[in-house]
Symmetry: C2
């Protein structure tokens, strides 16, 4: 999760890492608002002044972790070979979002604490909004590719924006529940469940009478 890669002075790296770790731990203990700069530097065994040598304020510090997390996730997704996007192993739900979804749940499991903090909406409002936008962009991207490949109707039955926000919200909802309940399913399984609802729809999932609208 590249966060201090090639900064010159050894002290700088150490200090920043200590501040980051102290802050995240404290947020989980008392919640963002209750944590003071003095708390952070105290926990990190540093002088309060030092904090301001590195960050403008609490939010700036949290934002750094967020940015690194986002960069890491999009990196992982981008680095995954295109080939895998078609041949990935859940033949029941062959949608184009399958692999990214799996990677995202996986990633959240690996960085559960930070994801929890973000999804709880700790810190300023921007934080969670940032994530949402990224998810929406990913969806729009995938949809655009699909349209180009003519696998999706040019005039979909639902406006893409509505679909994208539906998706982003549902994802956030399931991910939040999953994290707050200490990952009751393995990442691949929760991803599969998510896809099942998303692709099949409530009619099938709940066994309700089928809708009268045909596909497309």
């Amino acid at each position: 999760m590249e966060l201090e890669s090639k900064r010159i002075d050894r002290r700088t790296n150490r200090t920043r890492r200590q501040l980051r770790e102290a802050f995240l731990a404290l947020i989980l203990e008392k919640g963002y608002d209750a944590v003071t700069v003095e708390d952070i530097t105290g926990r990190a065994d540093l002088g309060r002044t030092t904090f301001y040598l590195h960050y403008r304020d609490k939010n700036d510090l949290l934002l750094e972790s967020l940015e690194a997390l986002v960069a890491d996730l999009t990196g992982v997704i981008a680095r995954t070979p295109i080939a895998d996007w078609r041949t990935s192993p859940d033949p029941q739900h062959p949608g184009p979002l399958q692999l990214p979804l799996r990677l995202a749940f996986q990633h959240a499991a690996e960085h559960a604490d930070l994801y929890r903090i973000i999804l709880r909406g700790e810190g300023r409002t921007e934080t969670i909004e940032r994530i949402r936008q990224i998810v929406i962009e990913q969806i729009n991207h995938v949809l655009a590719v699909r349209v180009a490949e003519e696998q999706v109707p040019v005039h979909p039955t639902v406006p893409p924006e509505v679909f994208a926000n539906f998706f982003a919200g549902a994802f956030q909802g399931v991910l939040t529940w999953w994290l707050e309940n200490d990952l009751p399913y393995p990442p691949t399984e929760i991803a599969a469940l998510f896809q099942k609802i998303l692709y099949d729809g409530a009619s099938r999932v709940l066994g309700l009478p089928e809708s009268k609208t045909g596909p497309g």
Copy 2:
């Protein structure tokens, strides 16, 4: 939206209303965190001390509006005649959540500003979490009724909790988008779109290859 009904002293009602209105207006202008108690009482033309005669702090004041909003919505839903739950007029999507969904979008349209504030996550974290829990309870309630009527498989293909959180998240996502974009569709229409995605699923909505899982 019952908020000052039978409080004895006329002054109390006036003061509380002024504080509430001033606060909500200011949040929309500068965001929750940036608003001080002095801002509020200034805007409301009251002494700063007066604020503390009525509320413990900013969050307390916001919470009052939230509680009233929630009570109002659940009241509206509860008051709607059961008969309407079956005969409501969207025959393409006859799901049991149809009418409550419509009522919710309607309600959000009528109180758009307050909904915006809440959905943006202004105020403390509790606020938005409160709403989510209410939505989840509603869903669980409806699902329980359905199960009792044996219209839903006893062992649904997806754990109810997962479905409920999927739903709650998707709803929040679409509702937020709708409000932040100044209600680009009428409430009935956005409710119908939401249901379409939810019931038919992405496969149909986007015209993807059908899943191999049958209903139920």
